[in-house]
């Protein structure tokens, strides 16, 4: 008897034919509503054990390795995440510190700008006051000078006209008799003096 035949016989014993399975008007039914018949349960269980054993023997290491690899990958990701978190926290600390520095620097700059603005304002006010005082003084001096100049010009004009008038009147009144009188007066005056005069 060949192996095929033996296997067929064994299977025939293990797996009953359709005629051997109870049949009623509702179809084929088993004795136990939950468990299959022993003839099915035993080979099925054996087959399952064989299959699962084969799976455990052949695929187990692969699955374990894949799980280990996956675990290692997950662990690596966790480690990376932890490192990234630490780096991020460090960055956050640094940023917070920098932010604090920026705030302090901004406050310092604002304070400095305020101080400079105040100083500039005070300086500008002082300079404006001085310039105003100078302008007022200059304006007063200019007004005084203009008034003086006007007076001087008026006086000079009067003097010029008076001089012209005097010159003309004297020339008109100086006839020959007056000329001779002036000469005689000069001679008499010089003759009466005994020292040089200028």
């Amino acid at each position: 008897m060949s192996l095929y035949t033996a296997a067929t016989l064994a299977a025939g014993r293990l797996f009953p034919s359709a005629e051997e399975i109870p049949f009623d008007d509702q179809g084929y039914t088993t004795v136990d509503p939950i468990l299959p018949p022993w003839k099915e349960l035993i080979p099925g269980s054996l087959a399952s054990i064989i299959v699962f054993s084969l799976l455990y023997w052949k695929a187990g290491p692969i699955i374990k390795k894949s799980f280990r690899d996956r675990t290692a990958g997950v662990q690596k990701q966790l480690d990376d995440s932890a490192a990234a978190k630490a780096a991020a926290e460090a960055d956050a600390v640094r940023i917070r510190e920098a932010k604090g520095d920026i705030e302090a620097e901004r406050a310092r700059l604002f304070a400095e700008a305020d101080a400079q603005a105040e100083a500039l304002l005070a300086d500008g006010r002082a300079r404006l006051d001085v310039e105003m005082a100078e302008l007022e003084a200059r304006a007063e001096a200019d007004i005084g000078a203009a008034a003086g100049r006007g007076t001087d010009e008026l006086r000079a004009e009067i003097a010029r006209h008076s001089g012209v008038a005097v010159d003309r009147i004297i020339r008109d009144t100086l006839d020959d008799a007056a000329q001779q009188d002036l000469i005689e007066t000069f001679i008499a005056r010089v003759g009466a003096s005994t020292g040089a005069s200028s």
Binding site: R155, Q179, I183, T194
Partner: protein, 175 residues
């Protein structure tokens, strides 16, 4: 012109006039001509114009002085004009007058009046100035209308000014 050249001309004129025996007249005539030359722009322009030939300028001098001055004066002025020294006539004449006065141990008194003095007035004025200064005076009179009236006498550094012009100037200054 340099002082030495002016002195040279003055000495030459002085010697010529003295040799001619007309020093007093010539000196007086040259002095008057020099003052006229100073006061007349047209005369100065005519005698110093390089475009007018020297002969013509000399002819102007002869026309101007002919019959009014001695021949010696005309010749001396013509000689100066002909040599192209017209600009220096006042300086040359002043130097001549100073030389002549020095030779006679006199001080030159330049008197300016608006009208001409009579001989009597000249004599009395000369005596008055000599009395006032204590010096012997060589009186030189100039008719100068710009003095307006009165007299101004200059003896060396001394000035006796009693002119109407000065009084007017003083009055203007006070005004």
């Amino acid at each position: 012109m340099s002082d030495a050249m002016i002195e040279g001309y003055a000495r030459a004129l002085f010697e010529v006039a003295r040799a001619e025996g007309t020093l007093d007249e010539v000196e007086d005539e040259l002095f008057r001509f020099a003052r006229s030359y100073e006061s007349s722009d047209s005369l100065r322009a005519a005698l110093t114009d390089e475009h007018i030939p020297a002969e013509k300028r000399q002819a102007i001098v002869e026309d101007l002085l002919g019959g009014k001055t001695t021949t010696t004066t005309i010749q001396l002025v013509s000689m100066v004009v002909g040599s192209g020294r017209s600009r220096d006539i006042p300086a040359i004449v002043d130097s001549l007058v100073a030389r002549a006065s020095s030779a006679k141990q006199l001080d030159v008194a330049e008197v300016r009046t608006a009208v001409a003095l009579t001989d009597d007035q000249r004599a009395r004025l000369k005596a008055a100035l000599e009395n006032a200064t204590g010096k012997s005076i060589n009186l030189k009179t100039v008719v100068d209308p710009s003095v307006v009236g009165g007299v101004v006498a200059t003896i060396g550094d001394t000035v006796i000014d009693d002119t109407v012009r000065t009084r007017i100037e003083q009055l203007k200054s006070r005004l």
